[in-house]
Amino acid sequence: MELKLRHKPIDQVGIEERCARFKTRSIKTDAKMQGLKMALSMIDLTTLEGKDTAGKVRQMCYKAMHLHDELPGLPTVAAVCVYPEMVASARKYLGSSGVKIASVATAFPSGQTNLDIKLADTKQAIDAGADEIDMVISRGKFLQGDYNFVFDEISSIKEACGNKRLKVILETGELGDLENVALASRLAIDAGADFIKTSTGKIQPAATMEVTLVMLEVIRDYYFETGKMVGMKPAGGISNSKLALHYLIMLKETLGDAWLTNEWFRFGASSLANDLLKQLVKQTTGVYQSGNYFALD
C-alpha cells in the first residue's frame, strides 16, 4: 500500500465560509420531519464514563429501542456506544432489536499503550458481542510524523476486527489544523477504516462542521478515485436539532443522497436524541416542548 502523504492544501477560512453556507439552508415542514427522523436513526447513543455500570447501560439500551413511545413511527437509534467492559450488558439488553453495539477500544481515549494491549482490548469487545469498534489513532506518533506507525496500527486493528466495522477516531481536537485532519483521514481510510470519526468526546473542540466537512471531502476524494464508500461519524458537541440537520445538509451536498443512511453516517451523541424528539413532537403538535416530557438517558 502506497501512502499519499502529501498534505492536501486546505484554506480554513474557505471551509468556514462553506459551512456558513450550509447553515443558511432552511429546512421546513416535510423536509424537517424526514430530516429529524433520519438524524435520530443515525445516533450512536453514547455513554463513556468511568462511572458506567450495567444499570446505566440497561437504561440507555431501553431508550435506544424506545425513544419516545408516545410518538408512533419513530426509528430506533443506530447503535449504542460503550466501553468494552459494558458490551456484554448491552448485548443482553438490546437482544434482537437491531440496534448495533459499538465499543470503543485501543486504550480509549488516549491510545497511549502498546499494540498488544490494543489488540486485546479490541478482541475483548468483539468477543463480548460488539458489532463495531471505535478505535483511536496514536496522535502523538501522527504529530511526530510517524505515519507508518499509525497506518500499521490501524491495519492491525482492522485485521483483528474481522468482519466487524471499524471506526477510526482521529481526535481532531488534538491534530492542530485542518491539513492534519485531512491527512489523518486519508491515512485511516487507506489503512482500512470503514468509518472515520472526529473525536472521543473527551477533548475540546470535539466535532465541528469545519472538521467534518474536511473529512467528508476526503471521503469524497476517495470515492472519486476508487468508487468505494466510507462512512463518517462526527462525535461530541452536536446537541441540537438545527445543527444536526445542517450536518445532514452538509452530508447531502458534499457526498450525496447515497450517504443519507445510518450505514454511512452516524452522530456520536447523547443529548441530541432528546432535542430531536422535542422537535419531532413540536412539528406534530405545533407546540414548543419542555424537557420534562422527554426521558433522560
Binding site: 484554506d11 480554513q12 477560512v13 474557505g14 468556514e16 492542530g176 489544523d177 473542540p205
Partner: protein, 304 residues
C-alpha cells in the same frame, strides 16, 4: 555647444568651424530622425536659424508607443530603490551640463539669470522626484480593516503608458515635469516637447541616454501639437494622456477620443515656477487591492 551666434558664423575660414548638433528624436534609447523626413526650422530669439527640428509623424508616435510598451513591465518591476537611483542619476548628468542648457535657453530668449534659475529649478525638480520613487507607495498605501477574516491591502501601481505633451511655458522644467513623475511611478512615457523649446528637450534626451534609464522608458518627440493630438488620444495601447496647458477645444477633442479605450486623461495648467507635487505621480497610478484569508485556528485570532 550646439550652435554659435550668427556673428561668429562669418569666420568660416577659421580652423574652429563649429560642429552643429543635429537634433533628432529619442525613441527606444536611440536618436532616429523622423521617419517622415519632415522638419521645421527653429530660430533663436534673434530670429536667426538655429536648427532643423524633426517634425514627428503619427508613425514616430506609434514607434514610441511600441518602445514604451516593451519597456514598461520591466521598468515597473525594478526595485523602487533602483528607480530612485536612476532618477537621481538623471539629476547628476543634468547638473554637469549646466553650460549647455543655460546657453541653449539664452539662445531661446531666456535672460542669463532666468536661464540659471530655470536650470537650477530643473535639477532640483529631478532630485525632488528621485526621492519620491521609494516613498509614494508607503505614503499612499493602506491596510484596510475589512470585517471578514481577510488581510486586505491597497497599493498604487503604474497605469502603464503615458502619452504627454509638455508645457510651452518653460524650456526645461516643463518637460521634466511631464517626464519624471510618471516614470518615478513606474510608467513609461512618450512626450511631445514644447514646440517652442525642442532643442532643450532633445538635449535633455542626451542626459537621459547617459543616465541608466532603460531604452523605451522615455521617448521624446518634437513637432506640432495640432498634428499629434488625435494620435495621442486615439492610440489604443496608450493608458493615459496628460496634456499641459491645453486649449479648451483641444482638451475636448482629446477627451472624446480617449474614451474609446477609457484612457485616463489629465489636463494640467502649469504654474511658474514649477514645483514638485506628488499628485503628478499619484494621478498616474491605479489602486490595486489584494485580499487573502487569515487562518483562524483555536482562537488564535488575527488582529488586523
Amino acid at each position: 555647444m550646439a550652435t554659435k551666434k550668427s556673428s561668429e558664423k562669418k569666420s568660416v575660414q577659421s580652423a574652429d568651424l563649429p560642429i552643429n548638433k543635429t537634433y533628432k528624436l529619442f525613441i527606444n534609447g536611440a536618436f532616429p530622425r523622423t521617419e517622415s523626413g519632415r522638419y521645421f526650422q527653429l530660430d533663436d530669439a534673434d530670429g536667426n536659424f538655429m536648427a532643423n527640428i524633426c517634425l514627428s509623424s503619427r508613425k514616430d508616435f506609434r514607434n514610441s508607443v511600441v518602445a514604451a510598451r516593451s519597456a514598461q513591465q520591466s521598468w515597473q518591476d525594478r526595485a523602487a530603490f533602483n528607480k530612485s537611483q536612476i532618477v537621481y542619476r538623471i539629476a547628476e548628468m543634468l547638473d554637469q551640463k549646466r553650460d549647455l542648457f543655460v546657453n541653449e535657453m539664452i539662445q531661446m530668449g531666456y535672460s542669463k539669470s532666468a536661464s540659471d534659475k530655470e536650470f537650477t529649478a530643473a535639477v532640483d525638480l529631478v532630485v525632488y522626484y528621485a526621492g519620491w520613487c521609494d516613498k509614494y507607495m508607503q505614503v499612499f498605501s493602506n491596510v484596510n480593516p475589512v470585517a471578514s477574516s481577510h488581510f486586505n491591502f491597497s497599493v498604487p501601481e503604474p497605469t502603464g503608458i503615458v502619452a504627454t505633451m509638455a508645457s510651452e511655458k518653460t524650456a526645461l522644467t516643463g518637460i521634466i515635469q511631464a517626464i519624471i513623475p510618471p516614470i518615478c511611478g513606474g510608467n513609461t512615457v512618450v512626450v511631445l516637447s514644447a514646440e517652442k523649446y525642442p532643442a532643450t528637450a532633445i538635449s535633455f534626451a542626451e542626459v537621459l541616454a547617459t543616465s541608466d534609464v532603460p531604452a523605451g522608458v522615455v521617448n521624446i518627440l518634437t513637432g506640432k501639437r495640432a498634428e499629434l493630438y488625435s494620435h495621442f488620444a486615439s492610440h489604443m495601447d496608450v493608458n493615459a494622456v496628460v496634456i499641459w496647458d491645453a486649449e479648451k477645444a483641444d482638451a475636448k477633442n482629446v477627451g472624446a477620443l480617449a474614451a474609446d479605450s477609457v484612457k485616463r486623461t489629465h489636463f494640467y495648467e502649469s504654474k511658474t515656477p514649477v514645483v514638485g507635487n506628488p499628485d503628478l505621480i499619484m494621478n498616474l497610478q491605479e489602486t490595486k487591492t489584494t485580499w487573502h484569508p487569515i487562518q483562524n485556528i483555536s482562537g488564535s485570532k488575527s488582529g488586523y
